[in-house]
Every structure is written in C-alpha cells, then in structure tokens.
Amino acid sequence: MKTLGDVAVGDSSVIVKLHGTGALRRHLMDMGLIKGTAFKVVKVAPLGDPVQITVRGYELSIRKEEAAIVEVE
C-alpha cells in the first residue's frame, strides 16, 4: 500500500482511501483529505518530519506516522 508519507517531495498524488478509525481519521477528513482529493507534497521539515502538503488550496502539516493511514495512488 502506498501512503501519503511515501510520496516524494515535489510530487503530487491523489488520495485513494483513509484507513484507521477515530479522531485522527475524522480530523484528516474534516481537513479535506478524502477519497479523490489531489495534493502535493511541498516540503519536509528540517529534521525529516513532518511534511507539508498543499491540499484544497491551503498548506497542511502532517507527520509521516499520521500520513501512514492515508492510502494514495
């Protein structure tokens, strides 16, 4: 399964599915990360984590660990 955390900096992709349950998953959906959403990984923080993505016209920071529940194309 390829996840959001696997997308290289500068690359774009599309979300296939959100795995997991509970607050984190719901929060990601509320922030606009749902099936079919396109996003671009803009950069990675100086210490290698978290990553910054552009999604729905705004900038979002997410850790690779949390990005692991987001399956992408």
Binding site: M31, P46, D49, S61, R63
Partner: protein, 743 residues
C-alpha cells in the same frame, strides 16, 4: 434600548479573522494571533454600536465533529444556546476548506449570515467571487467584509440583525439523491420532540454515528436499531463508511459551489510560499529560527532595549536628567524632597524611597526592554511564523512525546508565562497539555531578565553580555526538553504523541491596531503587576527588613540606639530567611539575603531584583549597575554559588500570577502541586549540581558532592533509558491497517 436582545454567534475556522472581527465590532481587546486556535473558550461582549446585541465569539474549529473540546463548546452553544443568528466567518482566500464548516453550520437549521472575510486579499490575488451566486447556492445572505480594513462591517451587522429578527432558517444544500433518501428515512425515526428545523441536522449526525447527538435527543433503542440498519445498508451500497460518505458529500457540494462562484486568477507563487521557501527550508529552517530568537533577545536585552532601560534607571531613577537643558531631579530625589518638605519621619521616607520607589522602580526600569521584546514577539506571533516554528520543531518535540504545538506556549512564555500557560489550551491531549503547562515556564520570561542580568553582571561583568541573554533562553529550552524526556517515561505522562495535523496559515502583515493592542496588553499587565503585587511585596519586604529584635527590644532598627550599619542582619527578614537558608546551603547560597531574594522571587520574579536593591541599600541601583553586582556577589562564597542562585531562580516556580494560571489550567490541586513541586525540585537539583560540581572542580568534596553526582546519574539514566514497555499502550494506535469497511 427597548427592543429585546439579539444574540449573534461568530463561528468559523481557526485563523479566519473571527477574533479581529469580534474586537472590531465590540471594541474588546481579545487576543489575536496568526496561528490556529487562539480563541479556546467562547467570549461574549455587546456590540459597541448597539448595546442590545450580544456577540459571542466561538472558538475556531474546522468541523462540528464530537472529537475536540473546542468543537464541543461550539456545538453545545449552537444547539443549546439559541443564538438568534450565526455569523459564519469565512476566509475568502481559502473558500474550499472554510465552506466545509459553513455547510455544517447551515445544516444546524439556525439562521446564518456568511461573512466573506479578507475580501481585500481576494481582490489583490486577482480572484473574483460571485456573491449573488454564492447566496443562492448556500441559501443564506453573504457579505464581503475585511475585518482588518474595517470594510463591509455595517452591512454585515444590518444583515445579521435582519435575519435574526426574521428567524428565517437557511435553505439547505442537497446531497446525492441516494444519501438524501437514507437521511429522510433516518429523519422519520427521530422522536417528535426534535423541532422541524433541527431534524435534518440530527439525521446527518446520526448517520455519522455521532453518539453525543444520539444521546442528546434520547433516541429510543428500537429507532436506534432501525437507524443503524439504514446506515449499514447504505455503507454496503457505497462501499464506504458513513463518516466518509457524509464528508465526501459535503466536499462534493463545495466543489460544485466553487466551480460556480469562484473565478480564480492564474496561479502564481504567493508571497507566503516565497517566504516559506527560505524560512522552513530543509537546511536553513533551524539556523534561521535560532538566528531570529537570538536577534530578538539581542535587540531587546542587549542593545536597543538596554540603552532605553539604562536611561530610565540611571536618570529617571538615578541621578536626575535634563529636559531642554534644565536639570530635572530623579524620581527618588523627588519623593525624598516632597516627603522631607511635608515633614515626614525618617521611617516614612525610608519606606517610600528605599522600599517602594527602589523596588517598584527597579521593576519599572525594565519596561523599555520588555517593550522592545513584546513588539518583536507580537510581530512573530501575528505574522504566522509561530506555526512554522511548530512545524520545524515538531520532530524534536515528538522525541519526548510532545508535538510541535507544545512549542507555541513555550515561545509565548518568553514574553510572559501567564499567556504561555493559557496557550496550552490548544493542545488536545490532556497529558501533553499538563506537561507543557508544567515546563513552559522554564523558558525565561520578561520578568526573569533582571535576574539574568544581575547574575551575569556579578559573574562576568557587562562586556560580553550580548550573547548571555540568548544563552539563558536556550538553557531554558534545554530544561524543557530534558524535563519532557524524563517526565514522558514516568507513569504520569506516558502516552502516544498527539497527532500533528496542523494548518500553516498564510503569512500576513499584522494590522498596526492588533499589533499595538497586543504589545499594550502585555506591557500594561506588567505595569499593573508592578503597582499591585510588587508594590505590596516591597512594603512587606521593607517592613521585614527594617524591623526586628535588637538587644532584646523590637522596633524600627535604624532608629534604635546602637544598631550597626548592617542593621538588616537583625531584621525579621534575616531571622525568617535564616530559618529557610538550610534549604539553599547545598546550593552554596545560605546567606539570608540570597534566601530572601529567592523566596520573594516566588511571589514575582521582579522581586529578586527589587529585594536585592532594597537589601543592599542601593535604592537607585539597577541590574546593570556594577556597584550592585559587587555588593550582590559579596553575598556568595563562590562563582558556582552565584550560578546556582541564577539557575534556581530561573527554573523554580514562576510567580503567583503564573502559579494561579497553572492552577486554573490544571483544574486540580494534585496536578498543580505536581507541577510546582517538579519545577522547584528540578530547579533545586540543577542548582545543587552546578554548585557542587564547581566545588568539586576546585577540589572541595562533601557528602553533597556525592548526592549531586547521584542526581546527575539519575537524570542521565532517565534521559537515556529506553521508553518503558507498555508506556504507549493506553492511547489509540495512530495507524491501523485494517480498513474500516469490508472491501
């Protein structure tokens, strides 16, 4: 104002300009910052143009889900508080995500007016929003405003009042017909007690399996079973879970609205992106952050601020000053002259000049430095840099189980610990919040600067102090990090790190108004403290240090026959502090004066300086005065003891105001005790190690050397031992591979 009251609720995403709007229309000075989650509790105030209108500022939220405390506060208020109208503030530069909450608020069935904030920025970007079309799509009035530029506000308020009086609920957006079908069936299962205007909202919430909503309407078991069957069937049909279905539907509606109403200019690289390229750059991010904090402290403490503070201390409270060539007396001289002229006794003159003016003056002298510090920090907070700092620092903070979000309270604490501790409210996880509240005040706040200056002056003299203040700042950061790592491995704080899913808001230039308000709030709080807590403490300290037992008689020492020059040695303060001096003996400062400074420092850190000035009989002395340094240094047996004194006073429990805030924040006597106990204990151990290792380096050993070494070993062990097994078991797993629905 004969008409009945109108209640307006302000709702919106974090950082969409709600608080700026609230401040503007109510004339209040709420706290505005450019990071998500500045308003945590709801605030209420009356409209300044019409006192019959009550405005409630709700916390910024992304959704009405039941998961976070802010969202619950907002939900409860909207569903239970009966606002007459909701003004949904929408950041027009980010319509897509902002409309997600707007749709949910419209779903509640309450009358809604949408305020498209930051209209000026939309225009500047070259985008265009079709307002009339948006009104039709959303089914409620839409007003373009700019809270920052104060445009469109009157129209917005008129519109809100009209809608409030008409009580007309917005028409609702329709989802996909299959989903609408299911929602209608669920609506049919709702008890009759649910008002018609709210049935839709509860149907959607039940569909999302929102248990809070189900219990709010007391759904019967049989109905609940039928609803569950409907949901399960729909989930099977769509091959998705219910939460995803509804979220997907809302975003589908939004995509349609955006298509119809938003005309985007061709994308170009925004200023924010350009700034971010450098500021959060992979290689430059951390050095830039260090450089910025270094710069802030250098400017405030060492260069610009100091020259102003020196003027205040040397002239205003020192030797007098010149105004257009005329010699003006200093404040202490002025008071002394007045009191002498009024025939006041020596005792009163001593109280006013040596006690109050010396103490309060020593604190007030710091205003210029603090002013510079607050101007710079407020800018960093308002412009959006703080969220980037959280982004850059998250990796470090996660190592000891906190998130980068914990860094914001710590940065705010560089100004003052009180707002710093308050800012911990944005942290969702309770353990993280407690730990951040406990450790945030290790960061030197404005009031600790005099202590730093005093200690460093006594240790090394003034010449190299440029790098000293930033050094103490980073020492504070190290204390925070070390404490975090150690505490996280204890049972009290074990748990998974909180998620770090955070919006990075666009940079913007803070408005002069909110910037000035921000600075004014903090400076005025400092001044207020000087004239209340510090004022009272100086009187108490003066009394305790001037009255005492001498030759078997109690009285005002300077007036008693035969008292020596060093009469304070016989004072009440000397006896009281002497009783406690044993606590600090292993740290090397068992003189009663140093003890008294540390104890009064617990009331407010400014007192350390104020007490020093008053005890050392240097009423016009300042923390940058070499004569004070010498007198202060003479109280200590060694440089190690001076450093230990500095470390203890910088790390121990902050001040009454901050302790009260910690108490309010923890909302538990036990946790307040844990927090304050840890802070003082940690400070004492650090002081002990500094002094004992200094002595050991000089070849002086004692039982305390062994104890200090044992403490150091214990700290190193706790720092470097692996995370205990099972420490993270209690929290929900962050990544679960199992899909929520059957494929």
């Amino acid at each position: 104002m004969a008409e009945s009251q109108i209640h307006i609720a302000l709702a919106g995403n974090p950082n969409c300009g709600k608080t700026t709007l609230f401040n503007l229309i109510t004339g209040q000075n709420g706290y505005v910052g450019n990071w998500p989650g500045v308003t945590i509790e709801k605030k209420e105030a009356r409209l300044s143009s019409d006192k019959g209108v009550v405005v409630t500022d709700l916390p910024g939220i992304y959704s009405l889900s039941p998961y976070s405390p802010e969202e619950q506060v907002s939900r409860d208020y909207l569903m239970g508080g009966e606002p007459d109208v909701v003004v949904q503030v929408v950041d027009a530069t980010n319509l897509e995500r902002n409309l997600y909450l707007a749709l949910q608020v419209i779903e509640t069935g309450l009358p809604v007016v949408v305020a498209l904030n930051m209209a000026d920025l939309v225009e500047k970007n070259g985008d265009a929003i079709d307002v009339a079309r948006l009104e039709r799509e959303l089914g409620c009035p839409v007003v373009m405003i700019s809270a920052l530029k104060n445009s469109g506000i009157d129209t917005l308020i008129d519109e809100a009042k009209t809608v409030a009086v008409a009580k007309g609920a917005g028409q609702r957006h329709a989802f996909d017909s299959a989903i609408e079908d299911v929602l209608q069936h669920i609506e049919a299962q709702l008890p009759a007690s649910v008002a018609p205007g709210r049935r839709r909202y509860y149907a959607v919430k039940l569909f999302e399996r929102d248990s809070d909503a189900a219990s709010a309407i007391k759904l019967a078991d049989a109905a609940a079973q039928r609803v569950e069957a409907l949901i399960t069937q729909c989930e099977a049909d769509c091959d998705e879970d219910a939460e995803s279905i509804i979220t997907g539907e809302r975003y589908a509606v939004i995509a349609h609205i955006i298509d119809e109403c938003l005309h985007r200019a061709p994308a170009k690289m925004s200023t924010s992106e350009k700034i971010d390229r450098i500021v959060t750059n992979r290689w430059l991010g951390l050095p830039i952050f260090a450089l910025i904090m270094f710069g802030v402290y250098c400017l405030a403490i060492s260069t610009f601020g100091t020259s102003m503070t020196d003027w205040v201390n040397d002239n205003l409270f020192g030797d007098g000053w010149e105004l257009f060539g005329a010699a003006m007396p200093s404040v202490p001289a002025l008071f002394e002259g007045w009191l002498a002229a009024a025939g006041a006794s020596d005792m009163v003159i001593s109280l006013v000049c040596d006690g109050i003016v010396a103490g309060v003056g020593a604190v007030l002298g710091f205003i210029p430095q603090l002013f510079v510090l607050f101007v710079l920090l407020s800018f960093l907070e308002d412009c959006g840099y703080m969220a980037r700092v959280a982004f850059v620092m998250d990796r470090i903070f996660r190592r000891f189980g906190l998130s980068g979000k914990s860094f914001i309270p710590m940065l705010v604490s560089t100004g003052c610990g009180v707002p710093g501790v308050l800012a911990t409210k944005t942290i969702e996880n309770e353990k993280d919040r407690r730990m951040t509240a406990m450790t945030a005040t290790f960061i030197p706040c404005g009031a600790k600067l005099p202590v730093i200056a005093l200690v460093m002056g006594a240790l090394i003299g003034d010449a190299e102090s440029t790098w000293i203040a930033p050094l103490f700042y980073f020492l504070g950061v190290i204390a925070v990090i070390a404490s975090g790592i150690m505490l996280k491995k204890t049972r009290l704080f074990a748990g998974r790190p909180t998620p770090f899913v955070m919006e990075l808001p666009s940079y913007h230039m803070p408005s002069a108004r909110s910037w000035a308000l921000h600075v004014w709030e903090r400076v005025s709080a400092y001044v207020k403290k000087a004239f209340t807590i510090i004022f009272a403490s100086t009187i108490v300290v003066w009394f305790l240090s001037n009255f005492g037992l001498f030759n078997g008689a109690f009285g005002y020492l300077p007036a008693m026959p035969g008292t020596p020059e060093e009469f304070t040695d016989h004072s009440l303060l000397a006896s009281l502090a002497g009783l406690l001096a044993w606590i600090f003996a292993p740290l090397g400062f068992d003189s009663w004066q140093a003890t008294a400074m540390s104890i009064t420092g617990l009331v407010a850190k400014e007192n350390v300086m104020a007490t020093a000035a008053s005890l050392l009989h240097l009423a016009d002395a300042t923390e940058t005065d070499p004569s004070l340094w010498a007198a202060f240094a003479a109280l200590f047996p060694s440089a190690g003891a001076i450093a230990a004194f500095g470390a203890f006073n910088l790390l121990c429990a902050p001040c009454f105001a901050a302790m009260g805030t910690i108490r309010a924040q923890m909302n538990s006597a036990k946790w307040t005790a844990v927090a304050l106990g840890y802070e003082c204990g940690f400070a004492w151990v650090v002081g002990l190690m500094i002094n004992q290792f200094y002595l050991a380096a000089q070849g002086v050993f004692s039982i305390w050397t062994a104890i200090a070494a044992a403490c150091a070993l214990a700290i190193l062990f706790q720092l470097f031992r692996p995370m205990p097994k099972g420490a993270w078991d209690d929290a929900e797993p962050a990544s679960v591979a199992a899909p929520a629905t059957a494929a």
